[in-house]
Amino acid sequence: MKRLWPLWTILGLLVLIFLQLPSVVVILYAFADMSNYVWPIPAYTLHWFTRMFQDADVLRAVTNTAIVAVVSSLLAACVGMSAALTFYRYRFRGRYALQFVILMPLLLPGILTGVALVSMLSRLGVPLSLLTLVIGHTTFLTAQFFNNTLGQLRLLPRNIEEAALDLGATQFQVLSRVLFPLLKMGLMASLVLALTMSIDEIAVTFFLTGRELTLPMWILGRIRLGVDLPLINAVGVVMLLVSIVGVGLTWSRLYKSPWSR
């Protein structure tokens, strides 16, 4: 295995560079002093960042997106986690089939979730709003939470729970004093991931947003408009910064908790 290390290092780093390259370009253009994408960038400016904070549409889109992300992540955390804990605890008939069913919104592309929900809501006469968007996001985030939590639970030594029971803990105490503290960081990590996925999601958002303005819809509109393009990049850079801070705060523990040996 060691003989092949140089090969994996070179190939791996090349793939990593391929992954990062476009992001670098996105960041550079956020500071570009021009209104479209021409290379090389003639001059740099912070103009787009000041523009962004004065733009009422951006602020409204950010607020709406944040509301949807927080509400649907928390909802999905409750629903997904209770399913994961039940799966961890019990063996029952149809377990594998049910796991597949819960994961479906994650396995099938978002466009199907989106058009399906729109079909049902329009039949029921429910108007599209932020609430319908929350419903759509919660649906696929539940699958995400279920999957993450179950993965983390599987890595816990089975006998921890048995030891707690032997020592006289009730089922509820096992949950609150043993499982939950062990899972805490993993749950934080799942929550951060869920927030990111919700903010980033476009397929479900595209069909369920209705008249409300959300960040992806704003970006899509600006791209179609085709003027003052670096403004989009500036918004992207701020989002990137926020995510990096959020993930950075949880990452070290996030990474250790699910996969540490």
Binding site: Q20, V26, S119, V235
Partner: protein, 294 residues
């Protein structure tokens, strides 16, 4: 007496078991039954309506499906979407493998954590921007063209880099690649080290070890990586729109039927082959423990 008590106790625990089983599963099962499967049923039912101009006629008919089968355009679009999905899925699986090998077998755990964060960092920038960044790179006056001209490789900008099948392909590969890397890293990390040491002690050469030990154990992760990028490509409707040369994909035509071309019944009918393809594929890969790897 004791036996009776014992039975009563067992019965109580049995009831408690099914009670907590039901309580634990109820939220997710109910949510999905109503909002996911309920809506999928509504979608399928909508496919049996039809449009006359801008009016939706709400009587059951097979009209949309007849059009779907008889008009060659739809077959072309489905074929094109499948082709891209397979190519993108294979490319991503192929690119993710060396990166995952590097992260798991070469990097120290600490560095692995940092580099893994970098791997998923593109996910934190908005998806639309990630796709559109390829316009900035491949555009006529974009980074690549200018770079190649400065090198003197080309005399004038190559305009066919962007708005072409190539730009759609490369953007899709890039956008979905992190989703292929993550399950692979997860399975590789779960391979017990003693297994690797044992195979080395037994005289396996590097490639033998990869082929006979690592790849069989990593197969679910590789399948999951392929499936993820395949599925996401099948449903994508933004990247072909932003970077394509106007060629239609399944996602585009479905989105258009729910949007500008307003005819939800036709859109619902078009979603059917998409749904069917993916459900069948899930059925095929499900047996290999792929869901454990996601």
């Amino acid at each position: 007496m004791l036996r009776k008590l014992h039975l009563a106790g067992a019965a109580y625990f049995y009831r408690a078991r099914s009670l907590s089983l039901a309580l634990g599963l109820a939220p997710s099962v109910l949510w999905l039954a109503v909002f996911y499967f309920g809506s999928l049923l509504a979608l399928i039912a909508t496919a049996f309506w039809r449009c006359q101009g801008p009016v939706v006629i709400k009587t059951l008919s097979l009209y949309n499906f007849e059009r779907l089968v008889t008009q060659p355009l739809w077959r072309l679009i489905l074929g094109r979407t499948l082709l891209y999905a397979v190519l993108v899925g294979l490319t991503d699986a192929l690119l993710a493998l060396p990166l995952a090998f590097f992260l798991v077998f070469v990097c120290a755990p600490r560095l692995r954590g940092v580099l893994l964060a970098f791997t998923i960092a593109p996910l934190w920038a908005n998806y639309l921007l990630r796709a559109y960044s390829w316009k900035m790179v491949l555009g006529t006056s974009g980074v690549l063209n200018t770079f190649l001209m400065n090198l003197g490789v080309i005399g004038h900008p190559v305009s066919s880099l962007v708005y072409s099948p190539f730009s759609v392909y490369i953007a899709l590969v890039h956008v979905w690649l992190p989703f292929a890397v993550l399950p692979m890293v997860a399975v590789l990390e779960r391979i017990p080290h003693p297994l690797l040491e044992a195979s080395e002690d037994l005289g396996a050469r590097a490639w033998q070890q990869i082929r006979r030990v690592i790849l069989p154990l990593a197969a679910p992760g590789i399948t999951a990586g392929f499936f993820y990028s395949f599925s996401l490509t099948m449903g994508d409707f933004v990247t072909p729109n932003l970077l394509g040369s106007g060629s239609q994909f399944m996602g585009n035509v479905i989105a258009n039927q729910f949007g500008v071309n307003y005819c939800p019944p036709m859109g619902a009918a078009l979603a059917a082959p998409l749904l069917l393809t993916l459900v069948v594929l899930i059925g095929v890969v499900a047996r290999r423990g792929v869901f454990e790897a996601l």
